[in-house]
Every structure is written in structure tokens, then in C-alpha cells.
């Protein structure tokens, strides 16, 4: 389908305007984070370039520690989700046993319990386990995911069952087959789920707010909130520097993985 020149121009104009509007707030934040406080207060276009805001942000709060914490939490949740989801998906696709359908419905049922509605007992469980202010408390509750299991299940289903039978006859156990055949073949979906898991964990807000009470395991999101509430003097440059630090890792990840993510999410959504 070829587009006429006129149509092409219309589309490009629409695309560029929408892109500018949508990216506007983020671009504004990035620009402001490099502006002097005076320029921001007077509301004129930037006259000078400065990295003082970043220095001030790192000075005021242990942001490096928070970034490190966020990284640990996101990677641990991502790995936990990959391991648990792939194991569960394998059972649902390749193993036949009594009660499988029941367990499948049990997995579906978890989707109907929003985390926010069960956050009170969850908080008490973490507290009773002495997991407040620990990485375990921030990560373990999110390891099991129905979304991840279903996403991988869609992918595992495309692996021919005969392959498993042949492997079993050749003396390969289920676990070895899972490790050496199923996982490598499903790399793409694993990466997709990994990106999604990392992204959502990095951006978590309510749970880290409840499960961390001091700087040791506090994540960068809560650090940003702290930065924002501490700023009494309307130092917007510093706050924006904090916000830019928060979004850079996820934006990079999104730019690298947008295509995969789209495919994975659509498969999970439509099928």
C-alpha cells in the first residue's frame, strides 16, 4: 500500500506533533535538570548549562544507595519471576497429571485479587517474618506471577510434544529437557518477560513505601518522593534531576526492548 505524498506529509505532521506533546513533560524535566535555579524561577529559556542540580541531588540523599537497591530489587524479582513462571508453564504445557486443570484455574483466580486489596495482611506477614527493611520483603511477594506463567505457556505450547517424548526415550529427564531444550528455544519470551518484570519492579511505589522504613533497602522511587517532600525552597532543578535519574534506566530498557515487549504483551493480551 503506497501512500501519496500529501498523505505522507499529513501523517508525519501528526506523528511529530503527537510525539512532541507526549514526550513534552519528560523533555521538560531533562532540560530543567540542567538549568540554573534562577533560570527556572524566572521562567525564561535556559541561559546556562549546569550539572549542579545532579550534584545537589546526590548530595542531599544517598541516591546511589537507592539506585543500587532498586537494581537489586528489580533484578531479584525479574529472576524470581522467570524461574517460577517457566517452571509452572512447563508443568501446564508438558506434564499431564490429576488436578492440573484445578491448579490452572487457581492461577487464573490470583488475577482477580488485586495486590492493593490484600496489602494489609501482606504487610503483617512481612513484619512477622522480620522482613521489613530487607530485600526479601521487597521481592519475594512478587515472584509468582500468573501473567508470566501464561505468557511463557503460550510460547512453550509451540514446542512439539514429540520432542519431549524423544528426549524421554533417549533417557533425558523432564528437568534436563526443560533446562537444555525448552528454555533455550524460548529465549525471546524469557527476555520479554524479563524486561516486563524489571520495568514493573523498578517502578513499584506502594509496596516499597510500606516495606522499607530506612535508607538501607529504600528504592529510588521512594527516594524521589523524599527528595520532592524535602525541597522547601522550590528547587525544581534538583527534583527534576532526581526524576531523570529514576527514569533513565527504564527508558533505555524500553527503547531496547519495545518491539519484543509489544509482541509479548499482545500475545498475553489477545490469546
Amino acid at each position: 500500500m503506497m501512500l501519496s505524498m500529501r498523505k505522507k506529509i499529513v501523517f508525519y505532521v501528526l506523528l511529530i506533533i503527537s510525539a512532541l506533546l507526549l514526550a513534552g513533560p519528560a523533555i521538560m524535566a531533562i532540560v530543567m535538570s540542567f538549568m540554573t535555579n534562577q533560570d527556572i524561577l524566572t521562567g525564561r529559556l535556559p541561559t546556562a548549562f549546569t550539572i549542579d542540580n545532579y550534584i545537589a541531588a546526590f548530595d542531599r540523599l544517598p541516591l546511589l544507595q537507592f539506585l543500587f537497591n532498586s537494581l537489586i530489587v528489580s533484578i531479584v524479582i525479574m529472576l524470581g519471576q522467570l524461574i517460577l513462571s517457566s517452571l509452572a508453564a512447563y508443568a501446564f504445557v508438558f506434564l499431564e497429571f490429576k488436578g492440573r486443570d484445578f491448579l490452572f484455574y487457581l492461577f487464573i483466580a490470583t488475577m482477580m485479587v488485586p495486590f492493593e486489596a490484600s496489602v494489609i495482611p501482606n504487610f503483617h506477614i512481612i513484619r512477622d517474618l522480620n522482613w521489613i527493611d530487607t530485600y526479601a520483603g521487597l521481592t519475594v511477594p512478587f515472584f509468582a506471577t500468573t501473567f508470566g506463567t501464561f505468557l511463557l505457556r503460550q510460547n512453550f505450547k509451540q514446542i512439539p510434544k514429540e520432542l519431549r517424548e524423544a528426549s524421554l526415550i533417549a533417557g533425558m529427564g523432564d528437568f534436563k529437557f526443560f533446562l537444555t531444550v525448552v528454555l533455550p528455544v524460548s529465549r525471546t519470551s524469557l527476555v520479554t518477560l524479563g524486561i516486563y518484570g524489571f520495568l514493573t519492579s523498578w517502578n513499584m511505589y506502594l509496596w516499597p513505601l510500606l516495606a522499607s522504613t530506612n535508607d538501607t533497602v529504600r528504592t529510588i522511587q521512594i527516594g524521589l518522593k523524599q527528595l520532592q517532600t524535602q525541597e522547601q525552597l522550590n528547587q525544581w532543578g534538583v527534583i527534576m534531576a532526581g526524576a531523570v535519574i529514576v527514569i533513565i534506566p527504564t527508558l533505555i530498557l524500553l527503547f531496547l526492548g519495545q518491539k519484543k515487549l509489544q509482541k509479548g504483551l499482545t500475545e498475553g493480551a489477545v490469546k
Binding site: 503527537s18 510525539a19 488485586p114 518522593k225 527534583i239 526524576a243 524500553l254 527503547f255 515487549l261 489477545v270
Partner: protein, 314 residues
């Protein structure tokens, strides 16, 4: 006759043995299946199912500040909720918020997905930009908009002033606060919604468009007659997911308004948070959580219904 007996006997033993082997295998495959599923089952039990029942249980009690139950009060927490003007307002706010947020998000994302689905040079760049708000956390997005909404320095009021209009107290005026929070949320949610809708558009069979082209159909005719109907399953999916997500809004409220002014932006989850972790009324908060759970359950059920219908259509 006498020759037959041994045969039958052997058959029976075989059957017996076969039965036993079968049962053994069944047991084995059951254990194996459980081995693969156990990690998920244990975590779901501890962090999803048990907390859910515990929430229902707590909703019938008064608790102390540690969250231990003290007095069984039956339906009192619920009765109190439905005459509590603040909670009623938070439910109303939540529905209003869904109404302000979901339709604009879906419509804007649909428009973006349609224009980003053209085969043009550099389209990948625009797709990435349109989906980029998905990578922006709720805390960062709220901070961006907190500045935009700032009454004296914010960009929005500066634009209003230069065009000769009165400045608006976006986050402190009861008329505007919920709309301001909705605008932030729409912006945040466009990335995800766009990505799903674009995926839906790309899965539409291109031969449909080709035959429409042969018939000489115009752009908007194809949009109305092919794109929108074929997209409807994806459409229903994003609408229900958006509604469910919107019911769970918390971060924007915590950073932008803290539920104010005068509870004007107090949504259910924020209300639960405040009741539980500020006032330590875990029983009352649990009753609110049960109400939230029922609302989301209804939405999920609706989604399954629609998905089922979609399967029948195809």
C-alpha cells in the same frame, strides 16, 4: 473349558499389574507436576490467597495498632463504611476518576496507534516515543506534573497567563484537582495502552485492506469498516485492564494531592492506605479493601465474559 481358566487368571493379573503401574505412574506424574508448580503455589498461597481471606476476616473485627484482632464486630465495619461520608466520597471519586481517565486514554492511544501503524520511514522511532511513558514510573510522572500544575511557576498557568486567562489552582481547587490527577494518569497510561492497541492493529490480516483497496475504499471507510471492528477484542481488553488499573491508583494521589483538597481526590486505595497505615484501623481498612476487591472482581468477570464472546465471534 478347563483350558480357559488359566488364561483368564493371567489376564486378571496382567490387568492388576497394569492398574498398579498406571496408578504408580499417575502418582509419579502428579508429584513431578507438583514439583514444577510448588514454588508458585506456595507463594500464591502465602501472598495472595491467605491475605485475601485474612482481609475478609479482619473486616469483621476491631484491631489494635499491631493489626491483631480485638473485638468481633460482625457487619459493623461495613455498616459504618456506607454511612461514612469520606468513604462514600472516595468511592464516588474513584468512579469519576475512571470516567475521566479511561475513555481519554483509550481514545488518544487508539489515535496514536492508528497513525503509528502506517508503513513510513522512521516509524519505529515514533512507536518508541509513544510507548515511552510506560517506562516512566508513577513517582517520576507525578513529579513532572506537580511542576506543570504549580500555581505560580508551572508551565500550564504560564500558558494561561500569556493567553490572558486566569491562573488555576490545579491541585488545590476542588473543581480541578481530580481532573489534574486524571491528566497525569492519562499521560502515564498512554504508553502501555498504545503498545497493546498497536499490537492489535498489526495482527489484523492485511488482505482485508488489500481487497478494500481494490474496491477503491477511502482511508476513513477502511478505518470504520475494517480497523475498528477487527480491533474490538483488543479494545475490550485494554478498556477492562485500564479500568482495573485505575481502580488501583495510589502513587499519583500520594505525591500530587495526598487525597485533598477536602478529600476531593481521595480514591479507594489511598483511603485504605490512610485508614490502615496512618490511622491503624485495620478492620475498617479491610472492609474498604473488600469493597475494592468486589469492584475489581466484577470488572474481571466482565472481561472474561467479553473474551469468551470474542472467541465465539472468530
Amino acid at each position: 473349558m478347563s483350558m480357559i481358566y488359566p488364561t483368564i487368571e493371567t489376564n486378571e493379573t496382567y490387568l492388576h499389574q497394569a492398574e498398579r503401574v498406571k496408578r504408580q505412574n499417575q502418582m509419579k506424574s502428579f508429584l513431578k507436576g507438583m514439583l514444577f508448580l510448588l514454588p508458585s503455589i506456595i507463594l500464591f498461597s502465602v501472598f495472595v490467597f491467605y491475605p485475601m481471606f485474612k482481609t475478609i476476616y479482619l473486616s469483621f473485627f476491631l484491631t489494635n495498632a499491631q493489626g491483631a484482632t480485638t473485638v468481633f464486630t460482625g457487619w459493623d465495619n461495613y455498616k459504618a463504611l456506607f454511612v461514612d461520608p469520606i468513604f462514600i466520597k472516595s468511592v464516588k471519586n474513584t468512579f469519576l476518576f475512571v470516567f475521566y481517565t479511561v475513555p481519554p486514554t483509550v481514545i488518544i492511544s487508539l489515535i496514536l496507534a492508528v497513525i503509528a501503524n502506517e508503513k513510513l520511514k522512521g516509524i519505529g522511532f515514533f512507536r518508541t516515543v509513544f510507548s515511552s511513558t510506560m517506562g516512566v514510573s508513577v513517582a517520576a510522572a507525578s513529579v513532572f506534573w506537580l511542576y506543570l500544575f504549580n500555581p505560580t511557576m508551572g508551565l500550564l498557568n504560564k500558558v494561561l497567563e500569556t493567553s490572558g486567562l486566569d491562573a488555576i489552582e490545579w491541585l488545590t481547587d476542588p473543581k480541578w484537582a481530580l481532573i489534574a490527577v486524571s491528566a497525569t494518569t492519562i499521560w502515564m497510561n498512554i504508553g502501555f495502552t498504545f503498545l497493546i492497541l498497536l499490537g492489535g492493529l498489526q495482527s489484523i490480516d492485511s488482505s482485508l485492506y488489500e481487497s478494500a483497496d481494490i474496491e477503491g475504499s477511502g482511508y476513513f471507510y477502511k478505518l470504520r469498516r475494517i480497523t475498528i471492528p477487527m480491533l474490538s477484542p483488543t479494545f475490550f481488553f485494554v478498556i477492562t485492564v485500564s479500568i482495573i488499573n485505575t481502580f488501583q491508583t495510589f502513587g499519583q494521589i500520594d505525591i500530587l494531592t495526598q487525597g485533598g483538597p477536602a478529600n476531593g481526590t481521595n480514591l479507594i486505595v489511598y483511603s485504605i492506605y490512610r485508614e490502615a497505615f496512618v490511622n491503624y484501623q485495620f478492620g475498617a481498612a479491610s472492609a474498604q479493601a473488600v469493597v475494592l476487591f468486589i469492584l475489581i472482581l466484577l470488572m474481571t468477570a466482565l472481561q472474561f465474559k467479553l473474551v469468551e464472546r470474542k472467541v465465539h465471534y472468530q
